[in-house]
């Protein structure tokens, strides 16, 4: 595969796209196909799908920011994960795909005054994305861990479903043989074929902005391969470790933490980074009489009975992650680790009313991230963990190990009562993956730094086009929403740019 091959970093381009995840890759592809010259600057490396074992330690080291250890400070602090590689989060996540629910779009349009947000257009874009990513259901039986969750919910009469994924399967392949149709498999090659240049190992320091217009982007090159794709690619040879690209517009697609941080570093004011939202998540491990563990895949079933407040699903459960899930009360739980093939990890994710902030700090590349849960959030987390525990007992789990400090082993309903009584969010190992809402879009300028199509209100040509734009945490897997908005906004940019050109030439 050589479509992502690049020469030296250019000095000038129509559009710079910062970041190559679900937002950046789609933006780059659409703009390049519309005839713009596009340079994509990506901090991480290009690692082809399948080169690393999914959810492995090696993958965490190479494809996650901070080796997978990033934390939103607060009481309690909440660990979060971000992709840092070509393709961003799409390379490392579960590949689940949910369209943005229509009632959510209505709420966003109403509460944030988003103009021209059309249900039919979003549906049409979603259909296009689903075709491009081969979104579909697993062939044959789902994994045993997925079936346990499903059957527990069915026994309780609770709503559950199989979430579709962006996967392709070989003929007669089973649920575990899928190949993730991430950005490095889909929109990035598409953009590169249309002429976009991808530069990996490139950190953007700031946008050069004067009088509300960006004129250039200054960057720094990391050690190691630069404009590279695989080991055979040429190494960066120039002595220059920093540089700048002059450009007509910038799309910032660095994710909900680093997009606002870059805007702040570049001196852009307004409500940026003040409304970080995500789905705080609490976990448990469940032990079954039968083998349930599939060490490099995740369950596809989700329990939606309490949606959007609470959703259950399965987590990656290789032996290391099982051990991690048991670590909260290791003295009591450790015996289960030798039986890890019978153990699977599940989560309860909630919609939160808490608020977080992203603040860039002079002299540091990584911003300070804080998040504070509300009393209601803590109650919902406890309820989610309790209901998830009941689902596991109904699914036939012999023992359940909740992920909080000092948690009891749960074997029956009485234990579940004791577990809920002793739970406190302060003791829990909370984590999250769905970071969003740091640059919400809309015409309500008190809350929205970006307009209805992602342009920063106070600028003429700086755009955000990633999860930062989603006005709130959606209550479902957000990647479908991210891509739908990114494509919608890129189309609008193309349409208005052509109008501008037509006017100028007329």
């Amino acid at each position: 595969m050589s479509t992502h091959m690049n020469g030296p970093v250019p000095y000038e381009t129509d559009v710079v796209v910062v970041g190559s995840g679900a937002g950046g890759a789609t933006t780059a592809a659409l703009l390049a196909e519309a005839g713009f010259s596009v340079v994509v600057l990506e901090e991480g490396r290009w690692i082809p799908q399948g080169a690393l074992r999914p959810f492995s330690l090696e993958q965490m080291t190479q494809q996650y920011r901070g080796g997978g250890v990033t934390v939103a400070l607060g009481r309690p602090s909440i660990a979060y994960a971000e992709g840092r590689c070509a393709g961003g989060g799409t390379e490392i996540n579960s590949g689940l795909y949910i369209r943005p629910p229509t009632e959510l779009l209505h709420r966003w349009r109403r509460d944030f005054h988003i103009s021209d947000l059309d249900d039919d257009e979003i549906a049409e874009i979603c259909a296009e994305v689903e075709s491009s990513l081969s979104v579909g259901f697993v062939p044959g039986r789902p994994t045993a861990a997925s079936e346990r969750l499903r059957d527990g919910a069915i026994a309780l009469g609770w709503q559950q479903n199989e979430a579709p994924r962006w996967m392709t399967y070989p003929p007669s392949g089973d649920a575990t043989s899928g190949r993730r149709q991430s950005m490095t498999e889909t929109y990035l090659p598409r953009g590169i074929r249309a002429g976009a240049q991808l530069v990996t190992g490139c950190v953007v320091d700031r946008l050069e902005i004067q009088h509300g217009r960006v004129s250039a982007v200054s960057y720094r090159l990391n050690d190691g391969p630069v404009a590279s794709g695989s080991k055979s690619e040429p190494q960066h040879t120039g002595a220059t470790r920093t540089g700048r690209i002059r450009c007509g517009a910038v799309f910032v697609c660095a994710g909900a933490i680093h997009s606002p941080a870059l805007l702040q570093r570049s001196g852009i004011g307004g409500p940026i980074g003040r409304t970080l939202a995500f789905h705080p998540t609490v976990k448990l491990a469940a032990r079954f009489p039968q083998v349930v563990n599939v060490d490099d895949d995740v369950p596809v079933h989700q329990v939606k009975e309490f949606s959007p407040n609470i959703s259950f699903g399965g987590s990656a459960s290789n032996s290391g992650l099982v051990a991690l899930a048991l670590s909260d009360h290791w003295q009591v739980f450790k015996d289960a680790v030798t039986d890890w093939q019978h153990v699977a990890v599940y989560y309860a994710a909630i919609t939160s009313q808490g608020k977080g902030r992203v603040r860039s700090i002079p002299g540091f590349h990584d911003p300070l991230v804080t998040y504070h849960l509300t009393g209601r959030d803590r109650h919902v987390l406890r309820s989610g963990l309790g209901r998830l525990g009941l689902t596991m007992l109904q699914a036939g789990a012999t023992e359940v190990y909740p992920s909080f400090r000092g948690a009891p082993v749960v074997r029956n309903r009485a234990d579940l009562g004791a577990m809920q009584q002793s739970f406190s969010a302060m003791k829990a190992s909370l984590m999250t993956v769905h970071l969003c809402s740091t640059v919400p879009l809309g015409e309500d300028r008190d809350r929205c730094a970006a307009d209805s199509f992602g342009r920063i209100h106070s600028t003429a040509n700086v755009y955000v086009n990633d999860a930062s734009l989603l006005p709130t945490a959606p209550g479902v897997n957000p990647q479908g929403s991210v891509m739908a908005f990114a494509i919608r906004n890129a189309r609008r940019f193309i349409a208005t740019a052509h109008r501008r050109t037509a006017r100028t030439s007329a």
């Binding site: 209601r376 406890r382 309903r413 009485a414 009562g417």
Partner: protein, 401 residues
């Protein structure tokens, strides 16, 4: 008599007595059970037992239940357990076939006397053909919600229930109905959440723990000993026979002094006492649901604002001058009261006002669809009508509001 025959008899009598499809008794009162059978269509019913045992008969639920049984089980024997014989004289319950046992569920000797004469013919009493052992059902309605001390919760709600369960099992009853509560499940995490029929326990303070332990004793007897028992879970109830604490509730609303904490959008499931009796009897007479528990409540949860407004309107309908206002207080009041309650209960003491205030900013809402589907339960009385009836009852009984 087999269940199949029971069902046949029940439906035959329903069609015989209610040819026009409007199930009423000769005195004109609706028969809610027959109505429920008609409504649900497919719900099976056992025949009424030859003997019905009721604990806690002098309590709020117990009185309403016994009144119903006295009216509807003319041919059956009814045996009640009460702590003071004097209560019964005041109720005016005199009828052949009513047997009064004075005793306390906390004393095993009393409980054994209550079950006297039942000799373990349980298997045949469940309906095997050819048996002449009369069938017996037990409705365990004894419980304490506002005791003098914390120890009272456990003596009655936990140990008392264990005594009933153990003796019922030895005596071979056909069906035990255990009247539980919402409190083993705590409060809903959000104001728009409703408890599904099956939820994990999260007991709320000592009352909740003691009621949870009572439920666990029942479930364990079903699992291990094959006892045929069903749990019903009423939330906050209201209606005739209400104790003095509920009168205070009316008085506060009338005077505009009912404390509505925070937004008032928190919700409560409530159950009118006659709806609850319908549910208890449905649970008693529905075969094949041993080991299950059901929420028994009015059709839907109400917001606190709706409750206050509806009670004020019912008071006005009954000729009272109700302000319709409420005392607005920030949510912090509830939190402080909850904390004070915790401290007090931690030291073994219990204060009713503080406990109730501590709960008032919470949502306790449940979903009755399982009781509808599996028991044919169908609550007939809504909040406004139920509150009117309880205000009328207060008037008739000379209670000043």
């Amino acid at each position: 008599m087999t269940n199949e025959t029971d069902q046949h008899t029940a439906s035959a009598s329903a069609s015989a007595n209610f040819p026009d499809g409007s199930p009423t008794f000769p005195d004109g009162s609706a028969d809610p059970i027959a109505a429920a059978v008609v409504a649900a269509g497919t719900t099976q019913r056992s025949e009424s037992p030859a003997l019905t045992l009721v604990t806690g008969a002098a309590g709020w639920v117990g009185r309403a239940l016994v009144e119903r049984l006295l009216a509807t089980r003319q041919d059956g024997r009814i045996r009640i357990l009460v702590r003071n014989a004097g209560d019964i004289d005041a109720f005016g319950w005199r009828r052949p076939g009513l047997e009064v046992v004075v005793g306390d569920v906390t004393r095993i000797g009393d409980v054994e006397r209550f079950f006297a004469g039942l000799s373990g013919g349980g298997e045949s009493a469940t309906g095997a053909s050819g048996s002449h052992v009369p069938s017996t059902d037990v409705i365990h309605a004894a419980g304490v919600i506002h005791p003098e001390s914390v120890a009272g919760f456990y003596a009655v709600n936990t140990e008392g229930t264990k005594n009933i369960v153990a003796t019922a099992r030895r005596s071979g009853v056909r069906r035990l109905v255990h009247v539980s509560s919402n409190s083993p499940f705590g409060t809903n995490p959000t104001h728009d959440d409703v408890f599904r029929n099956d939820e994990p326990y999260r007991p709320y303070f000592n009352y909740g723990i003691s009621k949870m332990q009572g439920e666990l004793a029942v479930l364990e007897a079903v699992r291990a000993d094959g006892l045929d028992a069903v749990i019903v879970r009423p939330p906050w109830f209201y209606g005739p026979f209400q104790p003095a604490r509920q009168t205070v509730f009316f008085t506060m609303i009338k005077k505009g002094r009912f404390p509505v904490l925070a937004s008032g959008e928190q919700r409560r499931s409530m159950v009118y006492i006659d709806n609850l009796v319908d549910g208890i009897i449905a649970a008693e007479l529905t075969p094949g649901v041993a080991g299950k528990g059901y929420w028994i409540a009015d059709a839907k949860p109400y917001s606190i604002n709706e409750i206050v407004a509806t009670v004020a309107s019912a008071l006005r309908d009954e000729g009272y001058d109700a302000s319709g206002k409420s005392l607005r207080a920030p949510g912090i009041v509830g939190k402080v009261a909850e904390f004070a309650d915790k401290l007090l209960q931690g030291s073994g003491r219990y204060n009713q006002q503080i406990h109730v205030l501590g709960e008032m900013d919470k949502t306790i809402a449940c979903d009755i669809s399982a009781a509808r589907a599996e028991l044919g339960y169908d609550p007939k009385i809504d909040l406004h009508e139920g509150m009117r009836r309880s205000i009328q009852w207060c008037k008739q009984n000379g209670i000043e509001l």
